[in-house]
Symmetry: D2
Subunit: 366 residues, 4 copies
């Protein structure tokens, strides 16, 4: 009943339907004294906005308003309430199909759960809800930055086209720059071009494609994560699987460990400049659910956008007869690139929360 | 700081170190009136115990004691406290290596987090902690049974050897019978034999192997899972990733969705005997984070047991010099088969909790 | 760090500073299908607004805006975000004293806790925060009404002048009507007049007075409250003591039990129309932390408004010297009457939450 | 459903029925590195045990066993599981009255809530449950001690006989010494004698008496408590009202504020040795829900023990007829003195939790 709050000490409560008045969130537990302006939030929101031919035609400006928790440019330690008004709303195409459950969407399950639903643009189940996650994540990122933690997400694979860069060989700022320079957020320019072509081809055919996104966090201190249930990897999996369209999460070597031997999978422990470190990073920076000081590496599988214009089998639930549906609306033929800032936000929220639980963030960031 | 409690309405708090006096748990929120005897718990504990050549030589009887919450054979609605004493404990091999961090283990991260650690058998980070999960899960399973929900786990893959059965074609009791009939818990007898051989070969070489386990839940009503953060898939990912050695979690088609098109990935909605259903199950029974009435299908990647007798590079943290380690102790060369009851337990806990949140389980099961 | 959320299954998160842009809340866990319009909220907000000579001169219209969670006049089961803009704000008098901690206020403690504070109108510690509680409480009351539970608060005592009505002898609607008919919310007209005179006298002297408020809930089913920590009385005490200016909470006979004997304090158990009932109600409707079906009776002690125009000793914390302060601003000389709707809201929130925990409220109120 | 856990970062889960095998608790969130031995727990348990003519004849040794979380005399940061076996159990007197609800007890409400109950000695609703609170509180006290915080409880009033000492004039160790020197835990020897006589008189008449207990915490830093719902006073009220038999809680001047004027109630702010302080302490050390550095002062009203041997009216719920009951068993004629260590434990738990939330306690107490 209470699924709209995320976090234990750094807590985010999100609200809003896709075609309602607004979407927003309340961030509770943010330390006092953090410099925060609307621009800090807006920058991240702008990264989430659709921009190119591979994105939806819905063009929201997504202007953030901070309603509380900030005074004279600094956080008060009280709840930060933020919202974005929904402006470019067109519910017409949804009205026509409101008696048909869209395949791959939550139409049926919301109806089954709540007994009624807001059929306009998917209501609460819409990807638009992630606007609120990005707003909250922007604050989390600012906090991480103060502690020297850098975080970046990028597209690892789309429709089987894979980018093979090894993030360990790069400065994360460089990966960020490369990924942000193209529409698919893939740090390899050539691969990015092929991904984009494939997406546009699927779009032309009234279809969509899926992919894999990766997020790296560097500079994370050893010791984060609360055994035995609130492990850092468990918490990350929880956070990332809650993002719409995600169907799989893996840490470090992930599913590859199934084919490994222990002698190959175990990361040798070594001294690096006199400190404990690891020669490899199959663990993805997490051992026994606790960060080990190496890069945190997570990957998620994102399904192809369920909204496609090809006719699909479905059921008219008012008449209880089988029917066909063509989903019009305005949709991204591949959601992976726009999911990146959302995934980053979720990782940032987890890391800040775990740092607080570990006692590493003071109440006043004076 | 509070990582040892799992669940929102059906809550389990576990405690205990591998070589401490005992391991146990407290289950709070169990409905009153449920018939419960120690045999119900013992049956599941016995499934978790090592039994064959592919398991550790540590031979615990793991006899459960129920200390509270049950009166005249029925639950009272008050906390159920249970424990198992640790009897077959030999801390000697650990004493010898207590200054060396074992690769692939949580030795270093526990030290980094807590500033000290119980080095005997991995302490709290040991797989022995899962005894408590299995005890709690046994209660959850009993509840699910009353509501006609069946749950089974099995080994899908070990060291690259894959079992290709399609659970949809089977009665789950049949899968259970097949899986439980061999040491690796694989429902395909021939594949099971090959898996077993591979494990023994790795063991002989002082090494270990990983694999993939799958859990299916059938009969789950539509409507479970709390959007937007406490989604059923997010909650399952959280639960399963918290199990030691798990490095990846996927739902339904999982990572395969990355290569699919929308027209292929979306499960057509159809009428089955007059009710809403789905023609395929790429969704793994979950849409928008809410169960859709189809089988819940989850898969996890389990890393090879980190305890291997091959020499490995590590660091002596007292002297702060690099060193080599040979892990003796008593270990499973492949943990997948013994993880199955634990994974089932976690899925059961999640389902019971979600059913409670959805208001489907009364306070008194009279 | 996370003090701004109330409730376990019916959860309210409030936000907003007294002189910030707005105050508001997010209600998560409200069942779907409840008819809800802004008028339902506005009615309660209007009860909280200052109206008479005994109230502050700050005249906010307090117009509620519902931003999410309601569709076609019914709740969706998704978060309900509501806000009220702050319009009649005058921060000038606060600027003049921003270096002086006001006695009886949270100025010093906020500074000590957060390292900085919004000094305008008390910021987050202002009574204005209770606007959000009243909004959320209005929804809780609507739910209680559907289940035949009636709730009323009134002034029991002000400045030593006590109203001796026995609510058991009245229909609660009658108490409501009587209490709402005068400025002090006391159901005894004569007593009310004397209370009002006393308040105005204190006001004229630049001073303020305290009092006792009582809330009664009738029709509450037996069985609410979760032992052993989340008892109904413990939960009520938590809720009520969190209301600004409350310094004491008692249930039923309350502090009088200290002078009673067991034979006098124990309520005899009797049959009432064939059902279990109690001959007296010293228990205030709660035994062992669980409701027993009788009236829930709670009383709170409310301190005199700390903002008084008499000069008081304080400290200038910038110069760190002792000083005198005269608090101008616009204040109620007695806060008891305006606290009544807030206290009712808190009791309503507790009862709805406990009913949900007991499984008495379905997810869909169709 | 989940009422048996207390605390947010320092969490205690208690379990056990009065006549079950044992009572115990799990403490999660205790910092690592704290020296802890069973003697530390036993000392507090011994204070709770009945000792004199004014106490129950049930004579439990209450020997604590620590089962986990401690290694080589220090806490590990993992859950600390502790228990005490129930040995001196005699369920016979309860069997005779198991069809009669005892007035003033939770018999009826447990039945109403759970549909069945353990009628032996009150089951979970028994005061015996507080053994677990005292065990957990002993750890909290050890932590507070390290931070220079001293905590003491004493009897303020029994059956109208009041002790008028002003704790501000005493060293808390002195109050402790005085209170522990007599059976009623009243620091004034003469008053103590009269209280004792009154209790024995009531006992002789087959009756019982109530009273008021007070707890003082000194050395508490300013800044504890999380506005707006998780205020320090709200949290204390929650904690204390959850203790069996408590019917009222007040902070500082408490219910007296109802008769005060603002100019009298506001504590003047002054400089004490160059630091912010308060000239009086009507606030009981808490302003706006946050500690202000002065003594925390709480008082609770405790009802007379409901178990009395005088015949009382009740109902036989099996036959559903009115009946009379004489409660035999073994009971304290006044529970106030034995409640003191329990109340102290609750205050200690709250303070430690708030200190953790404020970031004042490191994860490793090295």
């Amino acid at each position: 009943m209470v699924g709209n709050t995320f976090g234990y000490l750094f807590r985010v409560t999100t609200w809003g339907e896709s075609h309602g008045k607004a979407v927003g969130c309340v961030v509770d537990g943010c330390p006092a004294g953090l410099e925060l302006r609307e621009e800090d939030i807006q920058r991240e929101l702008d990264r989430r906005r659709p921009k190119s031919a591979i994105s939806t035609a819905r063009r929201e400006k997504d202007e953030v308003v901070i309603l509380s928790g900030v005074f004279e440019g600094k956080t008060l330690g009280t709840p930060i309430s933020m919202l974005v008004y929904n402006r470019d709303v067109n519910s017409k195409p949804y009205e026509e199909i409101k008696h048909l459950f869209r395949p791959g969407h939550a139409d049926y399950t919301y109806q089954a759960k709540f007994g009624l639903r807001d059929w306009r643009g998917g209501g609460r189940s819409s990807g638009r809800e992630t606007v609120a996650r990005v707003m909250a994540g922007a604050i989390a990122k600012k906090i991480l930055q103060r502690f020297g933690i850098r975080l970046v997400g990028f597209t690892r694979e789309i429709a089987g086209i894979r980018c093979d860069i090894n993030p360990e060989e790069y400065d994360l700022d460089e990966i960020f720059r490369l990924a942000e320079s193209n529409a698919v957020r893939c740090p390899d320019e050539d691969v990015a071009r092929r991904m984009e072509e494939t997406i546009l081809k699927a779009k032309a055919e009234g279809d969509s494609v899926g992919g894999i996104a990766e997020v790296i966090a560097r500079g994370v201190p050893a010791g984060l994560g609360e055994p035995v249930f609130f492990k850092l990897d468990a918490y990350l999996a929880f956070a990332l699987m809650s993002v719409p369209a995600v169907k799989g999460v893996e840490i470090g070597a992930g599913f590859k460990v199934a084919k490994m031997r222990g002698s190959e999978c175990n990361d040798p422990i070594v001294l690096k400049e006199g400190k404990i470190g690891f020669a490899t990073n199959n663990a993805g920076g997490i051992l026994g659910g606790i960060s080990n000081g190496e890069d945190i590496v997570v990957r998620v599988a994102i399904k192809p956008t369920p909204s496609i214009s090809k006719p699909q089998k479905t059921v008219n639930w008012v008449k209880m007869v089988e029917d066909k549906i063509v989903v019009k609306g305005r949709h991204d033929p591949c959601i992976v690139p726009r999911a990146i800032p959302v995934l980053e936000a979720m990782v940032a929220l987890v890391l800040v929360d775990c740092m607080m639980m570990q006692g590493l963030i003071p109440r006043f960031l004076g």
